[in-house]
């Protein structure tokens, strides 16, 4: 009873198939019965199920038939091979075919081989493993063909092909060894096995050639790489032909593959000759693959009429009802593409999908994309809308990755710039949905630059930058690339509505890298007419930061010098030259000049024109005071007071002759002396040393960085000519040094500063004692420092 169950199920499946055949027959008179293709009923049945995409039924049948058999027997091996084939076919129709999926489709075989490593049909089982691997490689190649922009996918596909090729060669050697071993024992059983192995070996020869040929799909048709790969495939085919007996199916197949290789090497006349020589070997109707090759050859030779006739002979009046043959379907697609058949291309693509399933559609996509890429923009034989339609179709089906590739190809091929922007936006959205952000960025960038005349080209390019910033916000390389992109955007579309935001963004990037001058130059690169109050302030702030970070030309040696002051001044004046025609900008320029240009530069300053803002009058009076000492009539606005104080102090430091006027002016504006370094300095200038020292002590107490304040105070006191201040300066240098580890460079500098100050005060004895003491007690001093100590002579 149990044995009868599989047979009943098999019968049910056959009945179902017959039923579906009847339905097909009812659909049209030209739909033919599946019929028997081989001598093996099961094989035909499985093939029929596969063609209809009924993978689950086929798998159930395989599992059912192999369940009752001996695991070491031929039957199980045969059904496991079929099961693996079905799984592989199913996987080929899916989007993903990675190593995990490969292991899954190989599992029926690998499990059996693991359980019985010396299975009698071990080599046949391994051959199926290899077959799955070949499909795995082919899937990778197809993916690369529709993602030609992606080098990573292309590399992966090449690697898979090379691995498959190496495994074919290795298995062929194994088969040869096994055959040699069996030759010595020519029993009836071994003779059967030898014949089987011979057939398997021949199959592998065919596989080797077909893998070599598939490699040409990785490169654009007609390219040097494609021709080189085709030539190599022809060599592999020639080698295989010498090893295969005349008249065998394998030999015929390899000869066909050789013709295909010659065709792909673009040697059409030779291909024609070889094809003509090959055709008589086939009796009856020609295999579809050869017919397809004839059609493609005609197309390549420009014999479109002949190609059309061959296709009509095969497909008849209702192409969709013609016998299933993917190679012919693809040939017809190519014909339609070359004939620029418009919407018929899209219809035929749909038909291919219906007739051959997902795998067929994938190959059709590869053909149409290859055609699109090879024709390029100049010919533009194919409407990119066809490809875009395919992409949108895939998007609807949820395959965003494939949709992205197709839409990207359509965008790149689109001649109309504005339409190209629409397509590229769709493509980028699809690629983002497929988590292929890098591809989306490249696409947006490339297409917007290629079609820079488009209305939305600048915004599209900016979108690429925004995506890049999201990708890895803090990566050094990302920031570099982002900066370059933003600069290109500003250069290409300087008047775009986004240029202001881009400038601000670029300014932030450059400022974060302490590239203040570049940041200021970027924000200043605008047209005067576009400057409003806010932008003028932003430009002014950028330049103020540059001046602040570049230090000053005053005696303040400790000021940080981010950039050369003279360079900053000249760059500032160059940048402002074209901007000061704007009132808001002129007012800021006036202020920056008044606060940051050194006095000699001020005398070169030409008239700045009429005042536009209330504070301009004060700024002019400040400039006049700095130029000629003419006391300003009014006090500075409170917001500017601190900056004005700093400026005037810097002038007074550089030129002691202006100190009295500066003291008087600042005294009037600031009122009672506040606790600050500047106040102490002014007390020193006014010879009120006691007060200065007292203020410095106060500053030191309240300072956030007492060490720095001590150093500044010591320097300030040391610069005075008053002996009391100098004495206080020595004490402060001593205090500063006492907080540092002995022997450090800063410690030595403090000691030397105290010694120099003592010398300045005329206390040579004390200076000598200190220098000698350090020379006696400090073991390791570098030569430069030692010589400075040694230069202090005994009085």
């Amino acid at each position: 009873m149990i044995r009868a169950v599989p047979i009943i199920l098999l019968l049910l499946v056959v009945v179902c198939l017959k039923g579906s055949d009847r339905q097909l027959a009812a659909a049209g008179p030209s739909i033919k019965n599946v019929g028997r293709m081989t001598h093996d009923r099961d094989e035909d049945l499985i093939q029929a199920l596969l063609e209809r995409g009924r993978f689950d039924d086929a798998l159930d049948l395989c599992r059912l038939r192999s369940a009752d058999s001996q695991l070491q027997g031929d039957t199980v091996a045969k059904w496991r091979v079929r099961e693996s084939k079905i799984l592989t076919s199913r996987q080929m129709g899916r989007d993903k075919f990675g190593t995990d999926e490969l292991a899954e489709v190989q599992r029926p075989i690998s499990d059996l081989l693991r359980a019985y490593p010396n299975h009698p049909r071990e080599l046949f089982l391994k051959s199926q493993l290899l077959d799955s691997e070949k499909s795995f490689a082919l899937h990778g190649v197809l993916r690369a063909a529709v993602s030609s922009r992606n080098d990573q996918i292309q590399e992966l596909a090449t690697r898979r092909l090379l691995t498959a090729m190496a495994n074919v060669s290795s298995l062929a050697d194994e088969i040869q060894q096994k055959r040699s071993a069996l030759e010595s024992d020519r029993t009836v059983v071994s003779r059967g096995m030898i014949a089987d192995l011979r057939r398997l070996g021949q199959q592998l020869q065919t596989d080797a050639v077909s893998i070599a040929l598939v490699q040409t799909d990785l490169f654009p048709r007609g390219s040097a790489d494609c021709i080189a790969a085709a030539t190599k495939a022809e060599q592999v085919a020639n080698d295989a032909i010498t090893r295969l007996p005349v008249g065998t199916d394998a030999r015929k197949e390899v000869e066909r593959l050789r013709v295909e290789a010659v065709f792909r090497a673009a040697q059409y006349d030779r291909c024609d000759a070889l094809l003509t020589a090959l055709l008589p070997q086939f009796t009856g109707s020609l295999p579809p693959k050869l017919q397809a090759l004839r059609v493609r050859l005609c197309i390549a030779q420009g014999q479109m009429a002949k190609a059309g006739k061959l296709l009509d002979d095969f497909f008849g009046d209702v192409p969709e009802a013609a016998p299933n043959a993917l190679s012919m379907d693809l040939a017809r697609l190519e014909f339609l593409l070359v004939a620029n058949a418009g919407s018929r291309v899209g219809d035929w693509l749909e038909a291919i999908q219906r007739r051959g399933g997902a795998y067929a559609r994938r190959r059709a996509d590869a053909v149409s994309l290859s055609h699109l890429n090879s024709t390029g923009q100049s010919k533009a034989n194919v409407d990119p809308a066809v490809v875009a339609a395919q992409g949108q179709d895939w998007l609807r089906r949820g395959d965003s990755s494939r949709a992205g590739d197709l839409l990207a190809a359509a965008a790149a091929a689109e001649r109309d710039p504005d339409r190209a922007m629409n397509r590229v936006a769709e493509a980028a959205a699809a690629l983002l949905a497929a988590k292929r952000m890098n591809d989306a960025i490249d696409l947006l960038q490339d297409v917007s630059l290629a079609k820079s005349a488009a209305q939305r080209a600048a915004a599209t390019h900016l979108q690429a930058a925004i995506l890049l910033a999201r990708l890895e916000p803090s990566g050094t390389e990302t920031v570099k690339r982002l900066e370059a992109m933003l600069r290109v955007n500003l250069q290409r579309w300087s008047d775009s509505s986004n240029s202001g935001s881009i400038r601000t963004w670029l300014k932030k990037i450059l400022t974060s890298q302490q590239r203040y001058l570049e940041a200021a130059e970027i924000v200043s690169d605008v047209k005067p007419a576009t400057i409003n109050n806010e932008l003028a302030q932003s430009i002014a702030n950028a330049w103020l930061l540059v001046f602040e970070k570049s230090g000053s030309d005053s005696a303040d040696a400790t000021a940080p010098r981010g950039a050369d002051r003279r360079l900053v001044t000249s760059q500032f004046q160059i940048a402002m030259k074209k901007l000061i025609s704007n009132d808001a900008m002129r007012s800021r320029y006036r202020l920056i000049c008044a606060l940051h240009l050194d006095r000699p530069k001020l005398s070169d300053l030409k008239s700045l024109g009429a005042n536009a803002f209330p504070e301009d009058a004060f700024i002019d009076s400040l400039i006049n005071f700095r130029r000629s000492g003419l006391t300003p009539a009014e006090a500075p606005p409170l917001a500017l007071l601190a900056q004005v104080e700093q400026r005037l102090m810097a002038d007074a430091r550089t030129d002691p002759s202006v100190r009295p006027k500066t003291l008087a002016l600042l005294g009037k504006w600031l009122g009672s002396e506040p606790v600050s370094m500047e106040s102490a300095e002014r007390c020193l200038w006014g010879s009120d040393v006691e007060k200065a020292i007292e203020l410095l002590k106060e500053v030191q107490k309240t300072s956030a960085d007492p060490r720095q304040s001590i150093q500044q105070a010591a320097t300030m006191l040391g610069s005075s000519d008053n002996s009391k201040a100098q004495q206080a300066g020595v004490a402060l240098w001593d205090e500063f040094a006492s907080g540092l580890p002995q022997g450090q460079r800063v410690w030595h500098e403090a000691k030397l500063a105290a010694i120099r100050l003592l010398q300045k005060m005329g206390d040579q004895q004390e200076a000598y004692r200190r220098a000698k003491f350090i020379l006696l007690t400090q073991g390791t001093i570098d030569e430069a420092l030692r010589s400075q100590y040694q230069s202090v002579k005994k009085p």
Partner: protein, 147 residues
């Protein structure tokens, strides 16, 4: 009836027994409280304190040293103790004295800190101390780990 003798002609008699008792008590007291060992004296030095940085140091409370302290490190090694004066190696104990004499001849009195390793004997540390004192240094201190 016998009348009491009113005459006061008894001679003053010195009673020796209590005298001897007291003398013995005193003798025992002094024997018990006396020591026969030589007296010890503290070295005229102290433990060095960790220096304060400029940020913490207040000029009001602590005067700043014009001449920084000199640190004599005594490093224990298998082949013998190594002497380092502010990082400079000295061969003999007498070199400490010579170098310090040269320094004091400048008219300065820097503090000297003797910093011996744990394994260095006390005798060696005191020799270094003596050398510094002999050179005329007033303030010789010992380094100690803060607890």
């Amino acid at each position: 009836m016998r009348l009491p003798n009113t005459s006061n002609d008894d001679s003053l008699e010195l009673k020796m027994t209590p005298m001897i008792d007291v003398v013995f008590l005193l003798l025992v007291f002094f024997v018990w409280t006396s020591s026969f060992e030589l007296p010890e004296f503290d070295l005229p030095g102290s433990l060095a304190e960790l220096p304060m940085g400029a940020a913490e140091a207040s000029s009001d409370t602590q005067p700043v040293e014009k001449f920084d302290e000199i640190i004599i490190r005594l490093l224990w090694q298998v082949e013998g103790t190594q002497i380092m004066l502010n990082g400079q190696p000295l061969e003999r104990m007498s070199d400490i004295k010579d170098r310090l004499i040269e320094i004091t001849s400048l008219g300065v009195q820097p503090p000297v800190i003797v910093d011996p390793d744990e394994k260095v004997t006390m005798a060696f540390a005191v020799q270094a101390y003596d050398a510094a004192r002999a050179a005329g240094i007033d303030r010789v201190l010992f380094a100690a780990k803060p607890e």
